[in-house]
């Protein structure tokens, strides 16, 4: 296989993978008797056609930035964290407990406290699989999948038997107090002129941007980040260099779980303002696609999260305005994971054909 130039590897490979996923999706739409161009038009208008649409796209993107970063940090340590979904749901539990415990006077106080709650609960849910991987050699992929299901069962139990207010039928917590309400983009001075309607995107978006920057700093500008990446590249070499595998596995997974948990600031505290069943709505899994698409770099994760926010909001609009089911977005997402993650060698081989140095003498 020909080695590709760096720019081709970073830009061309994801773009071609995306294009292939798009072509197959278009074929799927054709196969169910709909028009791909109409579908694309509906998606574009519904997801980026107005400030209102952008408000939804950015709201979803905020969640995906957190889960994408979560998968990224674990990936750099060669750990495949599929447990983002469970960690995000447990993070939501942490947010709910913090928000409901005190009569918060103002969101500026509630937000940091809730962030701690979300991060601690998310990290705790990642800690057990991390420990089992580090100490007992249990495969982290399988344990994190199992923990998604255990987490879902735990949340159902908590909502039905413990946190549900008396007299309420649906399994959900009480509404959070007024003082925990995060300002939406509509309410932020200056942005209120652009986002003139109520949108779900809220200040968490800026927290997500800061998280991107902090994770970049952590991975490429600190000693710990170096250790995580070195461990991920070669465990043997890392041990030889005095990096302790148990410590790095634990730290990387704790950070990963905390990031996944922080996602719940956006959806639980920012949007629904109470904890519902299945609050993460698959964002934990989308984080895998976002990290793969974004090449495990915070800037890439940011761009990929916006793209997936677009897909998610556009897919919802498709479900509303056309007879194409909303599940199309799950298919597209799966195809993107397939092409960017599992078939990336195929794309590189295809590209390698064009980048192969021409033999001398043949003009």
């Amino acid at each position: 296989m020909t080695r590709l130039p760096r720019w081709a590897d970073l830009v061309l490979v994801p773009l071609i993978s995306l294009l292939l996923a798009g072509i197959i999706s278009a074929l799927v739409i054709l196969a169910i008797g709909q028009s791909p161009s109409e579908a694309l038009k509906t998606m574009v208008i519904g997801a980026v056609g107005s400030p209102y649409a952008w408000g939804y796209t950015l709201y979803y993107a905020t969640s995906f930035i957190f889960t994408g970063l979560a998968v990224t940090v674990a990936f750099h340590a060669s750990l495949f964290n599929i447990g983002g979904e469970g960690q995000a749901q447990l993070g939501g539990l942490g947010v709910a407990l913090v928000c409901l415990s005190l009569p918060w006077p103002h969101w500026t106080l509630a937000l940091p406290a809730a962030m701690v709650g979300a991060a601690v609960f998310g990290a705790a849910w990642a800690a057990i699989p991390a420990y089992l991987q580090a100490r007992r050699g249990s495969h982290i992929v399988i344990t994190t999948i199992m923990f998604n299901y255990i987490g879902a069962a735990l949340i159902i139990y908590m909502l039905v038997n413990v946190l549900r207010p008396p007299g309420q039928m649906d399994p959900a917590t009480a509404r959070f107090p007024e003082g925990t309400k995060l300002p939406t983009l509509h309410e932020i001075p200056g942005l209120g002129l652009i986002f003139n309607k109520q949108v779900p995107a809220n200040v968490t978006f800026f927290v997500a941007l800061i998280a991107c920057w902090l994770i970049w700093l952590l991975l490429w500008r600190t000693r710990l980040g170096y250790e995580i990446r070195a461990f991920g590249k070669s465990e043997k070499a890392a041990i030889y260099a005095g990096i302790r595998p148990v410590r790095i596995t634990m730290i990387a997974m704790l950070i990963s779980g905390a990031l996944a948990g922080l996602m719940s600031i956006n959806n639980v505290m920012g949007e629904s303002e109470r904890l519902l069943q299945n609050s993460a709505e698959g964002a934990g899994f989308i984080g895998i696609a976002v990290a793969l698409m974004g090449r495990n770099h915070p800037v890439g994760v940011f761009l990929a999260a916006i793209l997936f926010g677009f897909l998610f909001q556009g897919g919802a609009e498709l479900g509303l305005w056309t007879s194409i089911p909303i599940e199309l977005r799950t298919v597209v997402q799966g195809l993107v994971i397939l092409f960017t993650g599992a078939l990336d060698h195929m794309v590189r081989m295809l590209l390698g054909f064009f980048f192969r140095p021409r033999p001398l003498g043949v003009a």
């Binding site: 599929i82 089992l132 007992r136 399988i142 199992m146 255990i150 089911p325 298919v331 599992a342």
Partner: protein, 322 residues
């Protein structure tokens, strides 16, 4: 718990364990050949949709089963293509295929039937009908064994018995046939198989295709045996429980039967919380019962009940030496 209640629960254990067993054996073939497969769930879902759709259109359940196997093998083929031919990450490929299956089944069912992503309810010949084992009626009066035979063992649909037969068959293939010897070898040390002049690629593709067939049967049973028709996300994590059972069984066929029966028993119990409350004199919350297979798997993975060591070459694409 009285004997009649126990028999009822064991009867639903058999029904609920069958899709787990078929999927577990499917995973066994793939993982023994060195290809991790967390896409069992997606293949089952795809098979359930194909079975439901074709059985509804033709009224013939076995045509539905064939369609289910075809749908499942299609996904198995993509998994093989990504992880064998193009040496992609097997875990990522499995995750991706689960997503595609979860969405595309609804898309196809919706465009075919316009019933909110479901297939029409199956009845008559479009569904599996119970088979009474010989002497089930005449033996039912024999104390203890009689009711067990006629209630628990007899009266299931064909795929339940096919699933049970697959266990000794898998054991025989794995441990007594030449193909099985090579299959186990390719999962442990593909280079040695390659040196012996046997194609690693072909062996692995064969294993992945067998996985497709068995997952197809599992999904077909979901749509035409356990329930009457396909519904969105109807496999409900069974692919992952089957994966859990596979680890529990330490990649061995007879243990796979035990593990899936155990997990089926938990699922049957979760459907009858009243029975547990009566027997144990306190109630276990239903979510705890639902989570039990996953918790047990984590405990097994942690090595507290003897170590579960996966096939050594599992998850690693094989690169021929140059």
């Amino acid at each position: 718990m009285d004997y009649a209640t126990l028999l009822q629960i064991l009867d639903s254990t058999m029904r609920l364990a069958t899709p787990l067993l078929l999927a577990c054996l499917a995973g066994l073939f793939s993982e023994r050949s060195g290809i991790f497969d967390i896409g069992l769930e997606g293949k089952m879902l795809m098979a359930a949709m194909c079975t439901g759709a074709v059985a509804a259109m033709t009224g013939q359940v076995w045509l539905g089963v064939l369609a289910g196997i075809f749908g499942s093998m299609l996904f198995a083929g993509v998994h093989g293509f990504a992880s064998i031919t193009f040496r992609g990450n097997q875990l990522i490929s499995g995750v991706a295929l689960n997503f595609v299956a979860s969405g595309i089944t609804v898309l196809i069912a919706q465009s075919l039937f316009r019933q909110g992503g479901r297939t029409p309810p199956l009845s008559g010949d479009a569904r599996f009908n119970p088979i009474a084992l010989p002497f089930a009626d005449s033996l039912s009066n024999v104390p203890l064994i009689g009711p067990f035979y006629s209630e628990v063992l007899s009266g299931h649909t064909a795929l339940v018995y096919i699933g049970l037969l697959c266990v000794p068959l898998t054991w025989w293939v794995l441990y007594r046939s030449r193909f099985g010897l090579r299959l186990r070898a390719v999962g442990e040390n593909p280079a040695s198989v390659d040196t012996a002049g046997i194609s690693v690629v072909r062996l692995r593709y064969t294993a992945v295709m067998i996985t497709g067939i068995l997952c197809g049967l599992a999904g077909a049973y979901m749509a035409a045996g356990l329930q009457a028709g396909f519904g969105k996300e109807m496999t409900a994590g069974r692919g992952y429980i089957a994966l859990a059972a596979l680890i529990f069984a330490k990649w061995r066929p007879w243990y796979a039967l035990m593990a899936t029966l155990l997990f089926g028993f938990f699922q049957a119990l979760a459907l009858r919380p009243d029975v547990i409350a009566k027997t144990l004199h306190f109630s276990i919350p239903v979510p705890a019962l639902d989570a039990l297979p996953y918790i047990l798997t984590v405990i097994v993975l942690a090595g507290f009940v003897g170590r579960a060591i996966p096939p050594r070459a599992g998850g690693e694409p094989y690169v021929k030496e140059r």
